[in-house]
Symmetry: C2
Subunit: 456 residues, 2 copies
């Protein structure tokens, strides 16, 4: 049985015999007895095993080192010691796989996250990373649950693609050409797909085709950017959630963004209490308060122009001066969430700094785009109503010198029963950084890909 | 509101006014009234809208063509016509987006699947593909639900990888090199990751690192094969589920395979009744019986050697003669599931035709591998107990002339608290072909990638 299930129903198992498999997390052998910190990884805290010299292999057990895999048969009893309410009184302990003394994860001292990145294949065994990647799993499930229970169809966007959603992404090329024998200019008609192919930077445009069939759809899959950035928030491979809704305007888009975020955060609060305790204690003081507050807070909705006005009027010496018609910097994001004491939707952005597919507002200057700024996380999501007017969309693409032919299918969505529709994108790792307080994206992805790093 | 929710609680809405958005699926305008087949895509069957000449824009409505997006306000009433129990009596209908007469999806005639592949961005609007991709979504959710409710941690395997799990996969290269300017042999140290990188063919080896931390884990993500095969069952990009369990032997592995498959099939039966009706009627007669039978059937477990014996003794003229020590052909798979009248686990395969990481049995000839053969689907899953003995694993890798250094982390799993463990893989599209009866993999992937094809 899983230790998680044992702990959940521990009263039921009291004074009963159980058989458990797991690993030794710590070990305090004494002369006539010993204590083992024992866990199988199905839950955060595990359970203590007590053994004594009655066991025939007592000497052997006493010598076992941290990290060893063992099988324990024993009785669940109330603990007489402090630090735990229950423990297992062992009737037999047998070794499944030992662990030498050069095992890098010893109980003493806390290894740095930088060191653990070097042994990424072992780090989920530590308390911190065990919690991080469990929260990753639980949050992923919460996202599916949220959308599935609301009639959304999960859409698997293609990963290898011949189109470039944003028109400006730095993309990885995908090829089977023999690169050692290219002579001169590449003839992509001879490549695997008969044309140049790349890894996708977004599934949004394709998701729109599903929104026009299912009304509500969402992607949840990997996306790729070949950006040569070495920062705490950039990885070259990451997971995105991209919902897309027909018959949905910008206000309703924000409703979904707010509702979904609260749902997912609440779900993690409810299902990962021990993990959040750990983050709150060792990673980000006040994390639990932050999350609880988000779930009940009112999200402000305000125009970009108003935000710039507030920033300009603020009695702050900015590093970057806020300007109408321009993007805002991290320091501005921070100020504005503090100003409103909660999450802020900044909407109706200058069209020149936003993507071609966003709905043009009647003022001729802005588009119906929105960014969600969250205290302690900065920009967590971005969305927009999409331009459903074919003429306006084509005109905008011409202004930006974009190729229409390769996006004829996208334009046709406006021709064949088009309608007002909206969507948004959320970087999954950005959410995880917010949920865990772990501030480096390399520490919320099991095997992160960054420039020069592609291990495992 | 969604039409799905309306239909689910239709009695509640009887004689009440509702506002709905959706598309015209068919249209029968008469002199003084008209009927619209109306759906928003949230469910299979939609609802009929009746309008009459009282409406101020009656003439305009009468001229609307199939595919148009409309807004309907009206009263839910019991239908007096045949073919439906309820309908909407329209009080107002307004146009959201029209649809010209050259719209490729007309109500008359049934377009071929080949034709629909050419307009893949429109095909989810047809009844068949609407059902296929909804089942895809529901089945994906069932898989997550199954594992999450049983303490498995969802693991996102890396997609870009420097390792090759099977040691023999044909892989896509991932690069940012300027291919037009390669002179002679490629210097991969100058490429984005400082080494040659590929798209993964399996997340299993990495998943094993999570099994050694969480006991139970599963992947569900895209995988890639650069195989130049143009068959009904090959795509170059597809989704795989790869569970991996510590403290799990081959028998328990088969228990999980059987239990999960029955759960997912049952979940789809329960949640997609209208979709399965459609498949049963138009795609594969007897599909519902097939699925219902699977859920209650007993799965046979038999050694590969026994299977060969049965095949050899069969009074059949084989195209490929069955042989001990060799793989089995499709005709053999079919025979053996018919022989046992149900799904069959074929286990303990000759080691020379199986992967290096599979547990070597004591006979020195076979490995603890298993394939699940399902009536009407052939091989649906494959799994194995993994070799946990470091020496045996290293010896096998040497026999196969494999590079140990790049897999040192994998070998270390056997050194640091290793234990008996097992896992399996299921191609998601193979499951969908089984669930829908749609027999071409190009028709169960929204935007399939096959040699020479990379649209959207």
């Amino acid at each position: 049985m899983d230790i998680k299930d044992l702990i959940k129903d521990i009263e039921k198992y009291l004074n009963k015999e159980v058989t458990l498999f797991g690993w030794m997390k710590n070990h305090r052998p004494q002369k006539d007895f010993g204590f083992i910190g024992f866990n199988d990884g199905t839950c955060q805290n595990g359970i203590q095993v007590v053994y004594d010299s009655i066991l025939s292999n007592f000497d052997e057990i006493s010598k076992l080192l941290i990290g060893s895999a063992i099988k324990v048969e024993g009785i669940v009893v109330k603990s007489e010691g402090s630090g735990q309410d229950y423990e297992i009184k062992a009737e037999s302990i047998s070794l499944e796989g030992d662990c030498p003394s050069d095992y890098p994860l010893q109980a003493k001292g806390r290894p740095t996250r930088e060191f653990l990145r070097e042994i990424a294949y072992l780090r989920p065994r530590t308390n911190l990373f065990n919690a991080v990647f469990r929260v990753r799993s639980v949050a992923a499930y919460a996202i599916h649950k949220y959308f599935q229970e609301r009639n959304y169809v999960y859409f698997h966007a293609p990963l290898i693609t011949a189109s470039d959603c944003e028109g400006a992404g730095e993309m990885f090329k995908v090829t089977t050409l023999d690169l050692d024998n290219i002579k001169g200019k590449v003839d992509y008609s001879k490549d695997f797909f008969g044309k140049q192919a790349n890894l996708t930077v977004s599934g949004q445009l394709e998701a729109e085709t599903f929104a026009m069939a299912y009304k509500k759809t969402y992607t949840f899959g990997p996306t790729f950017r070949a950006e040569n950035s070495n920062t705490k928030t950039h990885a070259n491979e990451f997971w995105m959630i991209e919902p897309e809704m027909a018959f949905c305007d910008l206000e309703e888009d924000m409703n979904v963004m707010e509702d979904m975020l609260k749902y997912v955060v609440k779900y993690v609060i409810d299902n990962c209490p021990n993990e959040l305790d750990l983050f709150d204690k060792f990673v980000e003081k006040g994390l639990k308060d932050k999350l609880n507050k988000l779930v009940t807070s009112k999200f402000t909705r305000i125009d970009h122009e108003e935000v710039i006005k507030i920033l300009k009027e603020a009695d702050v010496k900015w590093e970057f001066e806020p300007e109408y018609g321009e993007d805002i910097a991290k320091e501005h994001e921070k100020y504005i969430t503090e100003y409103f004491n909660g999450p802020v939707f900044i909407k109706n952005w200058p069209k020149d700094i936003k993507a071609f597919y966003m709905k043009q507002n009647e003022d001729g200057k802005t588009v119906a785009a929105v960014d969600l700024e969250v205290p302690g996380a900065g920009e967590l999501m971005g969305g927009s109503q999409r331009e459903e007017n074919l003429d306006k969309l084509v005109t905008r693409m011409k202004e930006l010198d974009m190729d229409q032919e390769s996006l004829d299918w996208y334009l046709n969505l406006r021709k064949f029963g088009g309608c007002f529709h909206s969507g948004f994108g959320m970087g999954f790792e950005r959410l995880l950084i917010y949920l865990t307080g772990v501030d480096n994206i390399r520490d919320v992805i099991p095997y992160p890909r960054t420039p020069g790093n592609c291990e495992y």
